[in-house]
Amino acid sequence: MVDFKRSILMPVLVILVCLGIDYVVPEIFNPYLQTLIAYSGINIILAVSLNLVNGFTGQFSIGHAGFMAAGAYMSAFLTMTFPHWAGPIVGLNFFFNTIAGGLLAAAAGFAVGLPSLRLKGDYLAIVTLGFGEIIRVVLLNIEAVGGARGMYGIHHSASIFWTGFWVFICCFTVTRLMNSTHGRAFLSVREDEIAAESMGVDTTKYKVRAFVISSFFAGVAGSIFAHYLCYLNPSSFAFMKSIDVVVMVVLGGMGSISGSFVAAIIITLLPEALRPLQEITTIDFRMVIYSLTLIVLMLTKPQGLFGELEISDLFRKYVKRHS
């Protein structure tokens, strides 16, 4: 038996809330803001999943965009080729295609992870970087998915509901794992691999697991991206995309789910929020200010916005101080 309140009731409630938001958002926000909300969601999934590898397990991966591309192209290809394979309901098709995309990305994560997780630090970073580029270049040369022209006319199946749904699933999975013995095993790998090994933790197994789970969600985020934008091009998944995600993880705090969540939103919205400034100054200072903001944040809070704490920890601290 599973815990009814926390494992059945809570997810069902959250899904209902997502449905509600999906109904309300188009009424309140214009399409531009809706797109920003969807992109925030996609970035949250990317950041939280990468945090599992970079923050909790302490491995340095900078190839997240590669896994995202694998998931995006796989799901988009399925949608284009077999539009109704899971029945007449569009959402259901999208759901299964997203999972297929995630699984392909997870398989890619497994394939890269197994041989390269013997490497540490900088070396692993370079391998994952190389892998991300390989995926992009391979996609650039597959005619069936459009090659350099990209893929047009993907059905617009990703709604605010589906984005919210997957954000929830991703945060839910990572949070639950981190509050279990498996989460502690991830942490032990980060803290001291040799000690973890002699305390009975199969470090290779846990590194691969972290990689596979993280890649799965990167693939899911890719699928949402593909079905929201309705257009895919390999250049969307270039090296800079991976760096963006790493910035979100570091800015939010390595090892903080809430941190990644908040940082993903900030990084998505900040360049957009600075847009009015461009009209005043008539020169594009946006990226300068954006970069300066990052530098100032890192100088004043080098451990990230949240450090290793979660929102719940901060709340508890606050209550303690004021009682």
Binding site: M1, V2, D3, R6, S7, F172, T173, R176, L177, N179, S180, T181, H182, G183, R184, A185, L187, S188, R190, E191, D192, I194, A195, A196, E197, S198, M199, G200, V201, D202, T203, R209, E308
Partner: protein
């Protein structure tokens, strides 16, 4: 000598041209407290690393509970019942004291990741057992008040103790302590001696100890092996070791031996 728990037979290891340990033989009997001493660079820690699976011996065989352990990974040996501490403390410094102990108990939990997502009954049960047992262990060393503190923030002596506790949390048959008194002062060493004797009685574990502090080794070990330049030069009870000319030579140089002879 019937219940031999850990046995090393003609174990040697070479790093390039350097023979770190040569033809080492040892039989560890269940329940005993044995010491391994020797000057710096004698090969003691290398030997520990071979016994715990970190290094593979170049030749010879090690068997644990009658089974050869060639090629067995450290995490697997930990599951079979060999646990250890490290010469330079290797705690999970960024995690809480409690989590340090619970990670050692990871091997005794069997619920899957899916069960962790759904919070199954088995997960609840196993997590509760792990928590209770961890708190019980912490009580032995009076660390229960510090359970939620970050391990790296503990004073040095308590970090050493926590590491021993963590080794015990894997429920081992053999505990290997690599210089547990390193960096401790006189009184700390003294209370450590009592602790080691106490945990052996309480948990019924076999203890193998590397130590520089002669007082500690002579005080609690029933049997001592002396290693020098990778070769066992003497084996026996503390009083025998103290009189052995080879041991004195190894520690104090050959002039000292001739002086004692005169």
């Amino acid at each position: 000598m019937s219940n031999v728990i850990l046995e090393a037979k003609d174990v040697s290891i070479k790093f390039g041209g350097l023979v770190a340990v040569s033809q080492f033989n040892m039989k560890l009997v269940g329940g005993e407290l044995a010491g391994l001493i020797g000057p710096n660079g004698a090969g003691k820690t290398t030997l520990f690393n071979m016994l715990t699976g970190v290094y593979q011996p170049t030749s010879g065989a090690i068997s644990f509970l009658g089974e050869p352990i060639k090629g067995v990974k450290p995490f697997d040996l930990s599951k079979r019942g060999i646990s250890r501490t490290f010469q330079n403390i290797r705690l999970f410094k960024g995690l809480s004291v409690l989590d340090n102990i619970r990670i050692a108990a990871h091997q005794h939990t069997h619920y899957s990741m899916v069960e962790a997502l759904l919070i199954s009954q088995r997960m609840k049960r196993e997590e509760k057992t792990a928590l209770d047992q961890a708190m019980d262990l912490l009580k032995i060393f009076n660390l229960e008040n510090r359970a939620l503190e970050i391990a790296g923030s503990l004073p040095y002596g308590q970090q050493r103790r926590l590491e021993i506790l963590r080794a015990l949390a894997t429920k081992p048959k053999v505990v290997m302590l690599d210089e547990p008194a390193a960096g401790m002062n006189h009184s700390e060493t003294h209370s450590l001696m009592d602790t080691i004797s106490a945990i052996r009685k309480r948990f019924g574990v076999t203890v193998l100890l590397i130590e520089h502090d002669m007082k500690l080794v002579m005080g609690i070990c029933e049997r001592i092996l002396v290693l020098d330049h990778g070769v066992t030069i003497c084996e026996g009870n503390p009083s025998k070791i103290q009189k052995d000319p080879k041991v004195i030579e190894a520690y104090l140089g050959s002039a000292a031996t001739s002086e004692t002879k005169n």
